[in-house]
């Protein structure tokens, strides 16, 4: 199943399309069989357990956070940023390669007005649902089946954004 990758101009590439309004895409030169993706599932499982056990998926904890009455969520997000920051600095400083030997690539995010308008809209929704996209998956997994409705609505919201994207200010 090994394919030879033809170089394509970046501007027309599929990657350029996927990069629109996204943080988390890049183009690894390597192709793997599908089951290699299970290494992401494995970490996801650990992540999901932490989400539930530290009550990050709790609507109550999000209320406390926005009411400034508990340090818990600030502690979680703050620790995550510090650990992430140190990790990224170490990777850059020592030029640490991926396990496949590739150089680590972190795409740069460019500013547009979407971060302001979209960010505000997401914040408003976050305080209602008590969940950002990650916790939505975890709430459903933890047995709060009615959150399937919230999830479907979020999915629809993403589609509607895609449909009207060209008409929105950026």
């Amino acid at each position: 199943m090994e394919k030879i990758i033809q170089p394509i101009p970046v501007a027309q590439s599929d990657l350029a399309q996927r990069e629109l309004d996204a943080m988390c895409v890049n183009e690894s030169e390597l192709k793997h069989p599908w089951w290699h993706n299970l290494k992401y599932s494995a970490w996801g499982v650990l992540f999901g357990i932490a989400f539930v056990k530290a009550e990050i998926i709790s609507w109550f904890r999000i209320q406390e956070m926005f009411r400034f009455e508990s340090f818990h969520m600030y502690g979680v997000i703050g620790t995550a940023v510090v650990v992430g920051l140190i990790s990224v600095q170490l990777i850059k400083r020592f030029n640490i390669k991926t396990v496949q030997g590739e150089a680590v690539v972190i795409p740069n995010k460019t500013f547009n007005k979407g971060q302001v308008y979209g960010g505000l809209l997401f914040g408003l929704g976050w305080a209602i649902t008590g969940a950002c996209p990650g916790p939505l998956f975890a709430q459903i997994g933890a047995g709060y089946s009615v959150i399937i409705v919230t999830f479907l609505s979020a999915w629809a919201g993403t589609w509607v954004y895609g449909y009207f994207r060209d008409k929105l200010p950026h």
Binding site: C24, F47, W59, G84, L121, W126, F137, S153
Partner: protein, 187 residues
Amino acid sequence: MLELIKQPWPWYVAGALIGLTVPYLLLVGNKTFGISSSLRHLCAACIPGDVKFFKYDWKKEAWNLFFVGGIAVGAFLAATFLSDPNPIVLAEGTQEYLASKGITDTSHLLPAEIFSWEQLFTLRGLIFFVVGGFMVGFGTRYAGGCTSGHAIMGLSSLQWPSLVATVMFMVGGILMTWFILPHLLTL
């Protein structure tokens, strides 16, 4: 040991684990951490319609769907085998405020007074599930990321647009919590 794991985890344990997701994804597959993109990949994969924004090879981003699938499985395992029978311990101020709005059931992670199927077809339910969910899905994509993509991955890699987005998330959340939600809760 198992008893210790079953208790609620402190913020620094969960925070460190979530932070380690950043180097894990970078080093095992050169992936940058983000969750809201999964919703977009699901659009690209499943929803028909001639929308340019969803015309790309979503299979190249399938790792993201495997990751969020793992989150759901992990949450299931934690809720099934590691659950803590005690009610959630809330800050006193939050508890009193919510009680004044008729929300007193802290036996689950989500208040049963709002998050149940019976509530879905009420005006409040419609806002909490349908409107709230829509804003999360629309807003995160418009912003180009959510708490993971911007607040954690973006800030970790010192990207200032992510700081703007994170500040706006907080502004939106605070406005909703202090000025709008008090009215929504009593609908």
